[in-house]
């Protein structure tokens, strides 16, 4: 357990808690994830160590699929970062997920599949969760469209957001793609717009929140949360 650098803080039972970069537990109430997922078929997109996949299973999901990619070279690295970034966090995520899955006695199924290739061959899902992924994608629009395409109920997307002085209610994005592993930094309304553009007929906004400062790393900070209904 200690051998790995964990991405998620996971409570594996019997007092074992992984020391993740992100601890979502104190913020659970902010995420627009139904407390009761009984009987539902769920998908976790970009699962990493599996926190949300295991959480959806815990909330009663009939079946949970988790997709991710393992080859760090397949990530949308900005060119300047591709060489110099330490990729252990990505290389070992499959091992960490499996370790956690065994410890939890979980039956979540993890599949290697980039969100860009997410398709209906995996079936349709009553609920889809995608957290902290869009910011790392060159093409988040295709990702959201693919999520919409496999969704037959609703989908919740959570991502870092920025607030613009120029217009809080506008769909804006600042663009990096150079210095940080981040492409489009969306405003809350841009996140909503992206859901609408992908064809969700109704989009619900959660209250933006700060991931608790207990988390390590530079990726804590303001999160926007939206739930789209087909």
């Amino acid at each position: 357990m200690k051998r790995y650098a964990w991405y998620h803080t996971l409570d594996l039972g019997q007092g074992v808690v992984t020391q993740g970069v992100f601890d979502h537990r104190p913020a659970l109430g902010h995420y627009l994830v139904p407390t009761d997922l009984s009987g539902m078929r769920c998908l976790d997109v970009g699962t990493m160590d599996g926190f949300w996949a295991f959480e959806m299973e815990r909330r009663g999901a009939a079946e949970v699929l988790a997709i991710d990619i393992e080859d760090p070279e397949a990530l949308d690295w900005p060119r300047s970062l591709r060489e110099k970034t330490v990729k252990t966090l990505d290389i070992e995520k499959g091992e960490r997920f499996e370790l956690a899955r065994e410890a939890l006695g979980s039956s979540v199924k993890r599949i290697l599949r980039p969100v860009y290739e997410l398709d209906i061959d995996l079936g349709e899902f009553d609920f889809v969760f995608c957290g902290d992924l869009l910011a790392h994608l060159k093409d988040p629009i295709t990702a959201v469209e693919n999520i919409r395409n496999v969704c037959r109920g609703s989908a919740t997307i959570c991502d870092p957001i920025v607030r613009f002085r120029l217009g809080r209610r506008r769909a804006l994005a600042s663009f990096d793609g150079i210095d940080n592993f981040q492409w489009w930094a969306l405003s809350e309304h841009a996140l909503v717009r992206m859901m609408e553009a992908a064809g969700f007929t109704r989009v619900e906004r959660g209250k933006p929140f700060e991931l608790p400062t207990a988390s390590r790393g530079s990726w804590r900070g303001l999160r926007g949360i939206v739930r789209g209904y087909v």
Binding site: A171, L172, A173
Partner: protein, 280 residues
């Protein structure tokens, strides 16, 4: 001017063919007094762009539509010009609400005959040797078309879901210069000079996605592996057959700012062009 138009009869025939073509995007002079009634008029823009050396070069025009920039490259003495576009209007990066499966094929007929038809008609009338290929920017690669000394891409990136991926593909065939002319947001350009910012649209029949401020346009190019070497001033892609603006008060205020920035009082779309070269 080609021999095709050397007689009055052939000239009348050309005028008829231009008239009968359902939709013109570009305003292009075919002969004195004979011009396509395009939605946009870019003729004055030619002198404002930061052109690289074109004479004797192998050139590519991406998203050529009726061929305005392709024919201009040829006129400037390019050794060879290839023009690409997607033929089928249903293959644009439509947002969900405007997809052909939602709005129906008939609505796309407002965009005219398949792209390439207007181009071929003009190529015939102008006696042009530009080669037209049905290809999307996303599909560009060295194996298909080879490489180019000069690549031109005008008013296209805003219509793409994935402009970074598209520019990556463009860079893969660009061995010299990229001339990139794009729509820019007025307010975001003035207020956000220090920050690359985009407005996300993703709705409706104009099929627009990421609309940059001037710095956003440059940053996009940089992250796709280009460095920006020269910039044009702001200019207007003028409306011609394009439906006129509503002339509401906000529009008139905005228009006054655009006119003072561009020294151009014509209604149209604010643009800026940059000349870039692959940096990797």
């Amino acid at each position: 001017m080609s021999d095709v138009l050397s007689t009055l009869a052939s000239r009348n025939d050309a005028a008829r063919r231009i008239r009968e073509h359902g939709f013109w995007y570009h305003t292009i002079d075919v002969a004195p007094g004979l011009t396509t009634p395009g939605w946009f008029d870019s003729r004055h823009v030619v002198d404002l762009l930061p052109w690289p050396e074109v004479a004797g070069k192998r050139c590519l025009d991406i998203g050529t539509y009726d061929g305005f920039f392709a024919f201009e490259l040829e006129r400037r003495g390019a050794r060879e010009v290839v023009a690409i576009d997607i033929e089928d209007h249903s293959l644009w990066d439509w947002p969900a609400e405007a997809r052909p499966s939602v709005v129906g094929e008939r609505d796309l007929s407002a965009l005219g005959p398949p792209k390439g038809a207007g181009f071929r008609l003009l190529a015939d009338l102008l006696g042009s040797k530009v080669e037209w290929r049905p290809l999307s920017i996303y599909q560009l690669d060295e194996g298909t078309l080879g490489t180019f000394d000069v690549v031109v891409c005008g008013s296209l990136l805003l219509h793409l879901r994935d402009p970074v991926g598209a520019l990556d593909a463009a860079r893969s065939v660009c061995k010299g210069w990229l001339l990139s002319s794009e729509q820019v947001e007025l307010g975001l350009s003035l207020a956000g000079r220090q920050r690359p910012v985009f407005r996300l649209d993703g709705s409706g029949e104009t099929c627009q996605w990421w609309l940059p401020n001037t710095l956003g346009h440059e940053r996009l190019l940089w992250s796709a592996g280009f460095s920006v070497e020269a910039r044009s001033r702001l200019y207007v892609e003028r409306f011609n057959a394009h439906p006129p603006p509503d002339r509401s008060l906000p529009w008139r205020l905005r228009q006054a700012v655009v006119a003072s920035l561009t020294r151009d009082r014509h209604p149209g779309v604010l643009h800026r062009a940059v000349l870039a070269r692959p940096r990797i």
